[in-house]
Amino acid sequence: MSCTVLTKCLDRPPVSDKEILRYAGCKDNNDEVSSLLCDCLAEAEDHLSYRVCYCKLGVKFDRNICDFGVFKVESSDLAKNLSGCSEVIVFCATVGTMFDRLIAKYERIMPSKAVLFQAIGSERVEAVCDSFCDQISRETGRRTKPRFSAGYGDLPLELQSEIFALLSCEKNIGVTLNDSFFMSPSKSVTAFLGLCD
């Protein structure tokens, strides 16, 4: 079974200030935070890249066991998520290593900005995922399920190892996995995207 891993460099998805402030734990906004956020967004621009590597797999179900051919996993939540799909896209998305440098820098010299950069990174990587999923839906002409990641529900985080082996994330988009299944760069996401039949 050979599977082709493709990579994409996406255009910058639109930014939602509101989402960012939500990630930063601000329930309402004020001028001081807004102006700091403005600075942070300008500074973030050069440090962001929007990359995805992905591959299409077939999937068969045996009760709660999802069999992707290259690996199997037992998870009732994933099986439920993918019900009605015989194909799925497995992907890894990231905003890149340079963005983590920015967070690391401000963690040291200005935590207020670090908190906002953390929030920007979370918003950005989710936006990349949204934009990628939209693209896939357009390209395939198929409706997609909500994306589903290892660690959601009963889908074990350990599955990350299989996903990384499949996608060669390090070679393709520079994402690595450590022993605790944490990804570097930190603003990265892996997920399954069910393609509705």
Binding site: M1, K27, R101, A104, E107, R108, M110
Partner: protein, 803 residues
């Protein structure tokens, strides 16, 4: 024939892809290809033989991922042994009559290095070293380090190769379409780093097809004085009928590669998607080409993890502010291990426009080796400027050179035999541009003649160590003109002659010339201008000095280095010292909410303003009164708002930072009268072992400092023993531990256990995303704090009970 001899006179053909071929032959996803050396020796041998038959001069043994993170020591030995057995067998079986070599192939370890990831630099070196030793044991002819996308990991691999073998080293990195490595380095930065370390070939592979790699390869060719390598993919992958097809054919590939051989590439091969067919097409064309000789580029340069700084017509500014000499506040920061102070000096100087940062943390009472290592590591996390390692302690120098992510400047060597014997081997091993002071056992010659003679001696000695003169930059030593009226003249004469007659670059520490004179800046600025006109390449200087910056920008404008005077014009505004912006003493009148302007500035989180207002208040008020009457009430106000959830985390932090900038002025004022602020209590803080996330810990630290606690920050991934030791040696009242991952709560528990046994006098407060009050109790903490304010309140209550 030895590989290095072959390389000198030939275009070298490497092999092509392995991974894609193995998948076609049935390698399952997730299985490590290196295991096939043992289980499918015939398949591996066959692929190698096909490459040799196609015309490859070098075949890489199947060891790309053979490292100690993926395999046990025993298995690693078996795998590398089998890999070389297979490759050598293929060499015997091949019908090709070309020269044939077998390389040890090393790819990335698969884990990102600190500070971005969690793998320690020295651990990475040890892991690569294991593989290198096995490669040597099983008969590699050369080492190929390839597909590396991080400059730091590349350096670790090269060090391991140099320390454990004498084999030729080829290094190839992965550049993205933006022309940079994943971690930021451009081709000039990589060439500077790698040539400095003495590798034999530098180049690019993977990620893109030959056409897209062209600009990157040309950039490497323009900078490298060693042969350049190119190993592209067969274009981009496509999925057709469930098979992976690459979009560049063998003939197109070979044609495009040969275009680049014609402009100077000397080592070629293929990466993903290439097969023996591609290599055969390349080799057939290569037979008709003659190798282009390698021209030495004679570039004097240093590098950081992103870019190279080249010495030439435009003067290079080296910021001198990270140096405790004559600075009371800096000395205090060093004694207190206040790394933030140093980091801010670095960031501020970068904002002023320096190109390189000098780093000197030598003080009699501190462990300079440890401090320099910390300073270099931490500075690399906040700035992308190259660093100048400034120390006379050789072991501190070596430690810093090892962990530096690039080719550093080294300050300094001089004409003393003993010093040259200690410094030059380090320059040779790690790479570096070394500042050479024109003094020797007899001191500093008063005449230019004497200094030039020392320079000549230094050059001759350097050559014996294999150090090129482009990697030596002379400092002809600016002496105090108030003590000797002709001091500056002799320094300039020596400078001119070294520049003109010896063809070397020069650097000066400018500020010394004006020592003992009033309005020193004026003298410094003019001396800098004179030195530049005499050929000075670089200056170690104070970027906060308007006179120095004026000279720098004006010189560039006058010498035609600054196109349209753009830089001069945009910098010109900053030349006039800004009178402290008129601070309307509106007091609280305009805004009833705030008792004072400073309180308002802190509550609003205005850093600059808080600093200025504090400076103003310091003219008339006692520093401690300002803390008590202005800063603390402001902090309390924000803190209470945070507790009531009317103020959110970013605002709390902005206020804390504004307060910190006020405190910084207070500390300065107190240091100058030989006082330091009274501490409310000693708080040791750490993120526990295994955990590399420390934003939460940093926030707590900032707020605690605001409230007057002495905080000893041990950083992240801290072993229990280190926490215990710090608690005991600092007689800590409190210890704060943070954990963000479920997997590291156990090391928090272990740390608490050890603290209870060996440092029962301190209270332990814990926090972090995965903790709960219940869990904190279970692992034996005294207190669970849900946020920074709660930690402060608890610390205050503990101290209140003690007093």
């Amino acid at each position: 024939m030895k590989f290095s001899d072959f390389l000198n006179n030939n275009i070298v053909c490497l092999d092509g892809g392995m991974g894609t071929l193995l998948q076609e032959k049935g390698l399952p996803v997730g299985e490590l290809p290196e295991r096939w050396n043992l289980t499918h020796a015939d398949v591996i041998t066959d692929i190698h033989r096909e490459y040799f038959d196609a015309g490859s001069n070098v075949v890489s043994a199947n060891t790309f991922g053979a490292n100690g993170l993926k395999f046990s020591d025993d298995e690693l030995d078996e795998i590398v042994s089998a890999a070389f057995y297979n490759a050598k067998k293929a060499r015997e079986l091949s019908v090709s009559d070309k020269e044939k070599f077998v390389a040890l192939d090393m790819g990335p370890l698969g884990r990102l290095l600190k500070p971005l990831g969690d793998l320690d630099f020295e651990d990475a070196v040890s892991l690569f070293a294991k593989t290198v030793k096995l490669g040597v044991k099983y008969g590699a002819d050369l080492i190929i380090i390839e597909t590396m996308n991080d400059s730091y990991e590349t350096k670790a691999a090269v060090l391991a190769a140099k320390e454990n073998s004498d084999l030729p080293i080829i290094v190839s990195n992965v550049y993205g379409a933006d022309g940079k490595l994943m971690t930021g380095a451009d081709p000039a930065a990589m060439v500077t780093l790698l040539e400095g370390m003495g590798v034999d070939v530098v180049g690019a592979n993977c990620s893109l097809g030959p056409k897209q790699l062209t600009p990157i390869v040309k950039e490497i060719l323009a900078n490298a004085s060693v042969p350049t390598l190119l190993m592209p993919n067969a274009g981009l992958p496509k999925s057709i009928d469930g098979r992976t097809i690459f979009d560049v054919t063998a003939d197109e590939f070979a044609d495009e590669v040969c275009e680049l051989i014609k402009v100077g590439v000397r080592v070629v091969g293929g990466c993903c998607g290439t097969t023996p067919e591609y290599i055969r097409a390349v080799c057939e064309r290569v037979a008709a080409l003659t190798p282009i000789p390698i021209e030495p580029k004679n570039i004097t340069a240093v590098s950081s993890y992103t870019h190279a700084v080249k010495f030439g017509s435009s003067p290079i500014l080296i910021g001198e502010r990270i140096n405790p000499t004559g600075k009371k506040r800096f000395k205090q920061a060093l004694v207190e291990r206040d790394i933030n102070y140093i980091l801010n000096e670095g960031v501020n100087q970068q904002e002023k426009g320096v190109h390189i940062l000098d780093v000197n943390v030598g003080l009699p009472d501190i462990d300079e080796k440890e401090m320099l290592k910390t300073a270099v590591t931490e500075l690399q996390a906040v700035t992308d400027l190259p660093l100048q390692i400034d120390t006379s302690d050789i072991s501190a120098m070596e430690t810093a050179l090892r962990i530096y992510n690039g080719k550093p400047m080294i300050n300094s060597v001089n004409g003393k035999d003993e010093v040259m014997a200690a410094v030059f081997p380090l320059v040779k091993k790690y790479g570096g541009l070394v500042v050479a002071l024109t003094l020797d056992e007899n001191g500093i010659p008063t005449t230019a003649d004497g200094r030039v003679r020392i320079a000549e001696k230094i050059l001759i000695t350097a050559e014996k160590y294999g150090i090129d003169k482009k990697d030596i930059i002379f400092d002809t030593l600016a002496m105090t003109v108030s003590a000797d009226n002709f001091a500056a003249v002799e320094t300039l004469n020596a400078l001119t002659r070294i520049n003109r007659d010896l063809g070397c670059h020069t650097s000066l520490g400018i500020s010394n010339v004006s020592f003992g004179l009033p309005n020193r800046d004026a003298v410094n600025g003019v001396f800098f201008a004179l030195a530049l006109e005499n050929g000075l390449s670089a200056a170690i200087m104070n970027p906060y000095s308007p006179d120095m910056m004026k000279t720098y920008y004006a010189y560039r404008a006058l010498h035609g280095i600054d196109a349209n005077c753009t830089d001069y014009i945009s910098a010109a505004d900053s030349f006039t010292i800004q009178a402290t912006p008129s601070t309307p003493t509106e007091k609280a009148a305009s805004n009833e909410e705030y008792r004072s302007e400073l309180e308002k500035a802190i509550v609003k989180g205005f850093r600059e303003r808080s600093r200025e207002l504090t400076d103003e208040l310091l003219r008339s008020e006692n520093p401690l009164k300002i803390v008590e009457n202005e800063i603390i009430p402001a902090l309390n106000r924000v803190g209470e708002g945070f507790e009531k959830k009317t103020v959110y985390l970013p605002q709390l932090l902005m206020s804390a930072e504004a307060a910190q900038s006020a405190f910084e002025r207070i500390k300065c004022a107190m240091a100058s009268i030989g006082n330091s602020a009274e501490s409310k209590g000693v708080f040791v803080i750490a993120t526990v072992k295994g955990d590399i996330h420390d934003i939460g810990k940093n926030i707590v630290k900032l707020i605690l400092e605001n409230y007057g606690f002495s905080v000893i920050d041990l950083g992240k991934d801290v072993p229990p023993e280190a926490v215990v030791e710090a608690a005991i040696s600092n007689k800590a009242h409190l210890v704060g531990l943070s954990a963000l991952m479920t997997t590291t709560v156990s090391s928090m528990e272990e740390t608490i256990l050890q603290l209870r046994e060996k440092a029962p006098f301190c209270k332990i407060v814990v926090g972090g995303a995965v903790l709960t009050e219940e869990y904190a109790n279970k692992i034996g903490a005294d207190k669970y704090a849900k946020d920074a304010m709660e930690a402060v309140r608890y610390a205050e209550s503990v101290m209140a009970q003690k007093n």
